[in-house]
Symmetry: C2
Subunit: 321 residues, 2 copies
């Protein structure tokens, strides 16, 4: 049920950086509020005012501590930083895992930091579309850096970090990460690598393995080529934060100089528009013939009476009428 | 470029179980051959003739050895078994990881077994739509059990194993699997659990943890409730294969008795039809205004001149005209 919201006032309060208003607007955006279109119109002019940094990697690599370290580093440099921590909800608890938020508590009282743990209600893929709007909320609130942290290394995480200007992939020694991350296609999307827990045994081997893989990759790249740096950190002791920030600034400079920033942002806006439209199409499919069209096609395909392509054609025909 | 194919002859050879013909038809299905619609019509009548078993779990749990053990077990019971091993391609090698195929070589000369390692070209999600057609190819070839094995535990793997009648989730002790699997939402989709490497330290603890999580879950289930069994195996020594097969047969019986088999198959046929139609929509989006519509909307959204919802609306309008 829609709750009456004075959107104009809410957005004004977000613009002046009030944390409760920011949290409220983020909820409206995540919950697919009926007035999402109005909200979207109000947020649009703020699009692109923040640098968006994505951070991903396998569980146990130390994403939360690294995010916390990076936060401190960026604050020291005078940035206002919003964090979107994307935790898949446990299907058992029904809620988001809270570890990240707890570890971030050092920043809890800093008005220059806003941390949001986004729940996923069991479907991580669903967040790919909410992330850009959530980013605009933080931009509207005046944050000039938005950190998107995702848990895991699957395709959905890759989809989420595609919303970033710069993507950081985190590894740690002794997890068999190399092969594991390669399998999930995460290495492909890295602009900066961090080998965290660099004080542990095997850290040098991990850096070496990574370097070899990068050298061997010879990927087909159109346009200018960025050489991904590998930064060693011990995030739990705050070591390497400066190096990481420097690597991020280098990449941002490279993006600007090569026209890649505008290109990436256009690409992701395009993907966002398509995702919203496809969602709309799916909704319309579900409503065809009072909700019966898809169901009856499914039944006939399951029985082998109809092939799925012919069924899909008839769905398309109905959509267009 | 389309290669001339005598489809009628090819499908006849598939029907008589010729391995090279099966491999060829699988390639056509995976490669989205221009005559896919014809192929789909020929395959449709064979839909639903095999029991489809999905097998997933985190890397290192022993999926390949477990699949090999289950294969032997099913062969002993007189089944003809097709295997679809879904390996994400390494972005570096460009090809599928071959480990699974090599480990399956014991079955390489058995005409009652057909093993297909499906490449993903860097996008695992893309295979969710090819899997049901590949399954129909194996059904057409007379296999009465189809095993779908996926690597990893992300959302895409969940999408793939949704094509199964029965889904097996594999864990192993000492991998922190419990939490990891829960995060990825894999536990939700399990019909049968296997704790492999049951001779290792921590195996009992893993079983206990799993049992506690299941007890705590109190999931909202509509219709009759299946109690997921936990089977302990040492697949590398062939131990527990009989128990696993018994658990699979129990589940199949339960599905039949409760009308759940037809329900699941209708649900997945419905999802398949929708996925094909959505792909078609995406293709049509890309072609609007000679390919310029999506691009120019993306640019305007990236610049903040237009919000993404209004942009999506205009894409929908163009699609329907």
């Amino acid at each position: 049920m829609a709750v009456a919201v004075d959107l104009g006032e809410l957005i004004e309060r977000v613009t002046s950086g009030q944390p409760r208003a920011i949290a409220r607007l983020l909820s409206l955006v995540e919950d697919d509020h009926p007035r999402l279109r109005e909200i979207a119109r109000a947020l649009a002019p703020h699009t692109g005012t923040a640098t968006v940094i994505g951070l991903t990697g396998p569980p146990g690599a130390g994403k939360s501590t690294t995010t916390a370290m990076l936060l401190s580093e960026l604050r020291r440099a005078g940035h206002r930083v919003g964090v979107l921590a994307i935790d898949p909800s446990s299907p058992f608890s029904g809620g988001a895992l809270l570890g990240d938020r707890i570890r971030m508590s050092a920043h809890a009282t800093d008005p220059g930091v806003f941390i949001r743990s986004m729940a996923t209600r069991g479907h991580l893929g669903g967040l790919a579309w909410a992330t850009p709007q959530a980013t605009r909320v933080l931009e509207t609130a005046g944050f000039d850096v938005v950190l998107i942290e995702t848990v895991g290394v699957g395709q959905s995480e890759v989809d989420i970090v595609k919303h970033a200007d710069t993507t950081v992939v985190l590894l740690a020694p002794g997890m068999g990460d190399g092969v594991q991350a390669a399998k999930a296609g995460v290495l492909e999307i890295a602009d900066v690598f961090v080998v965290n827990k660099a004080d542990r045994q095997g850290a040098e081997a991990t850096v070496r393995e990574l370097r070899d893989m990068l050298a061997a990759s010879r990927r087909e790249i159109t346009g200018p080529r960025w050489r991904q740096p590998i930064v060693s950190t011990v995030a739990s002791r705050g070591e390497g934060g400066g190096d990481l920030r420097a690597a991020l600034e280098d990449h941002r400079r490279w993006l600007d100089e090569h026209g890649e920033l505008a290109h990436r942002r256009q690409q992701r806006a395009r993907a966002e528009v398509e995702a919203i439209a496809l969602r709309q199409v799916r909704t319309e499919f579900g409503r065809l013939a009072g909700g019966e069209a898809v169901r009856s096609l499914g039944t006939r395909v399951a029985r082998g009476e109809l092939d799925p392509y012919t069924a899909a054609d008839s769905l398309m025909d109905e959509l267009k009428h």
